[in-house]
Subunit: 442 residues, 2 copies
């Protein structure tokens, strides 16, 4: 007898310790949260093997969450740098991390990350399966469905909280893809592996064909399924096209089947999307997937800024979250260039945090603007210590201020004595502490 | 007899060399552009003293433009670093720069910047006037209207292309401000100086009271007026309040008077604005100001990210531009901390370029997406040289790629041999050049 999933418990009317914890974190009524979990509008990704402390709720009415991708590659296979990145991601506020390792000892790296992470951990099992096949000098198209499900089972055993599975890359969607005038084809690794597998083997995607087998494993560990968008657009020109939306239709259907099987499920979304189509992508996902939590990658609203894709993704992410996206996968500055280093991870997490927070404020989430208001007050009072406390990255604030030190400690080197705040304080509050730059004369 | 302003020429049916140049740059019909200039929906800021080569058009149907602020402060008064920043801003694509100097020899710095800038140069003359008063040990409230207008005249003589003038900080708006529950009061330097001046002297803003005198000077040099929003919100809590909108109502009225006097005019906007209010701010400006070009500072969609306000501003800027804003003032990472250095300027310009370009694409500007499409193709072809050519910052792409060099030159260290593009090329194009990571076996 395996324990109930969060979804099963919710459907049975049980408020779990995890629901209680998420409700407390979010300042919500636990019973209200339970109803949202039961409706499939909120997920709490937590493998049965993992402690209650790591949970985060993702979905309707909750704070927008952010994920940081970690993981080795064949060229950079050591786990240690990934653990350093994990620590940095947690320090700057990642709500979840994914181990996307494809180099070195994958299981060891995965277990280390799971052990050290204080937030939910996700993986993409097909990478693991592909790396094993390559290690045995077998082509990816000769991966067997059994191998794939064995790997998924192993990830469940290891305590993975959510897995990306590209179940929607169907033969039908791949046919549409082959007929489509896409500029950038397929850019998802899982999507590319499955597309090749389907095309060369002339068979249906095993994750779709044997979806019930997947659901059975996921239910047993309460691994949340993150239904991946393997055919997501890889450049602006390809956004919101037929292969993408065909896949999303399938994902909506699979989300319903997951819920019916007591398996928590969220949906992954693009990708590269022009700014004016970002909200549309969210609305169509919510409609097709009955309000399932939406986990977007970016979206990236231009393709011309390698080195700055964290900014590009923050623009898309903020707009997506305002439109209803629930979970933002960060993009680091290194995207499209190389595996990120620790500094890239830091910048990626902060950019996503900005996007998520801006959307929380704009969505009117109770209490979201409090920290902004406190910062506004601190600035108006020229209270630099308080500004330091409230900043997302206090070290950078302190460091830059120190490097360009003002003569007058109360102001900064932007305006020096011609500080707008000082002038305003004299004007509005008649503040005698604030000297006029004209000084004593007159 | 002074030459005609661009607006006067347009109203007289003349297509000037400047209009022709802007039309060519934008791929537009020159006569169509002339009509937009005549309607006050496009400005071409160019002092009569400056060469035609520097022009940029700002407004309806044109590429979204970006401005980089430069300038010394009392703590960092040397002009040389500002000239270095100017070069960097131009290298990364600033369409205009503003010299906001308040330290050292202001006129020398201004003239150097004007001499070296290949794009329009703006200033805020009231800073200059305030610094002079402070230098003479006179309080800011003892600035005389004559002094202010003399400084404005001097900026015209020096060849300044556009000036920020906070004419809308009226007694009425200041009264509303005094009655308002603002968190952060006034954060505009010009706004703070004028607010104090009005409150302490019990008199009307001289830039408003003697607006015709201002128009006469502006017309003589064809200095475009950038009507400043001195009462813009300084934190999210203060956005879209009565003082802000009262000032905007006045600016709309003054814009009409400027156009009637043959003076080109644009309107400045916030500032700190929650994401859901950004589009509203643009729409209300366009309505109140009869479609005059809108020049926004950011907007910043959260207050909690000092060190990253270029990202915060890129989010707001992209959304504002999509809603119709025409000109984005960059925000550097150093905003709210210190005077920016050259690296900060580079990051500020690139962030704004991303925002402007994302909006151009989303607005469907003809040709805007071409570079994105070319990048998509280059990525799909694993053509790194082409990606390098197309990147906003090619050096960073080359540098990071070199630092984390892949074993296989065609891919990157993110995925190494498990490159999605390679798999996709095998799957969709049957590309024989793309090895399966499973290698030769089988």
């Amino acid at each position: 007898m395996t324990p109930q999933t969060q979804l099963e418990a919710a459907l049975n009317g049980t408020v779990t310790p995890e629901m209680r914890r998420v409700a407390a974190d979010e300042g919500l009524d636990a019973e209200l949260l339970r109803r949202r979990v039961a409706a499939g509008r909120v997920v709490i990704p937590k493998n049965h093997a993992r402690p209650t402390e790591i949970v985060r709720g993702i979905g309707e009415g909750l704070r927008v969450k952010i994920n940081a991708n970690l993981g080795t590659s064949k060229d950079l296979p050591e786990p240690e740098p990934e653990l350093e990145k994990l620590a940095t991601a947690l320090e700057y506020g990642a709500d979840a991390v994914m181990d996307l390792s494809t180099g070195g000892d994958l299981r060891r790296t995965r277990r280390l990350i799971i052990e050290r992470s204080t937030v939910p951990v996700g993986t993409v099992p097909i990478y693991d399966a592909a790396v094993r096949a390559a290690g045995e000098k077998r082509k990816l198209i000769h991966l067997t469905p059994d191998e794939l499900f064995e790997v998924i089972e192993e990830h469940g055993e290891d305590g993975v909280d959510f897995i990306t599975v590209h179940c929607g890359v169907s033969r039908r969607a791949v046919e549409l893809l082959q007929d489509s005038p896409r500029v950038a084809g397929v850019v998802s690794r899982g999507g590319a592996i499955l597309t090749e597998w389907i095309v060369r083997n002339g068979a249906e995607n095993p994750l779709l064909e044997q979806y019930d087998r997947l659901l059975e494993i996921a239910r047993r560990y309460d691994m949340t399924l993150s239904l991946g968008d393997g055919l997501r657009p890889g450049c602006l020109a390809d956004a919101t096209d037929r292969p993408q939306i065909e896949e999303l239709v399938t994902l909506g259907e699979l989300a319903r089947r997951a819920r019916e099987a007591g398996v928590q499920v969220m949906i992954e979304g693009p990708g590269h999307v022009p700014l004016d189509q970002v909200a549309t992508n969210v609305k169509v996902q919510k409609a097709l997937c009955d309000g399932a939590p939406f986990y977007v990658l970016g979206p990236l609203v231009t393709d011309i800024a390698p080195g700055y894709d964290h900014i590009v993704g923050a623009i898309g992410g903020a707009v997506a979250a305002l439109a209803g996206a629930d979970f933002l996968c960060y993009v680091t500055p290194a995207e499209h260039i190389c595996l990120p280093d620790t500094e890239h991870v830091k910048h990626g997490v902060i950019a996503s945090r900005i996007a998520a927070h801006a959307a929380d404020v704009a969505r009117g989430l109770p209490g979201a603007r409090e920290r902004d208001d406190a910062m506004g007050r601190a600035r108006c009072e020229l209270d630099w210590e308080k500004q330091h406390e409230l900043a997302l990255d206090p070290e950078t604030l302190a460091d830059w201020r120190e490097r360009r030190r003002p003569t007058d400690d109360r102001v900064c080197t932007m305006c020096s004595e011609l500080c707008a705040i000082k002038g305003m304080r004299r004007a509005l509050y008649g503040d005698p502490d604030e000297d006029d730059p004209g000084g004593e004369a007159q």
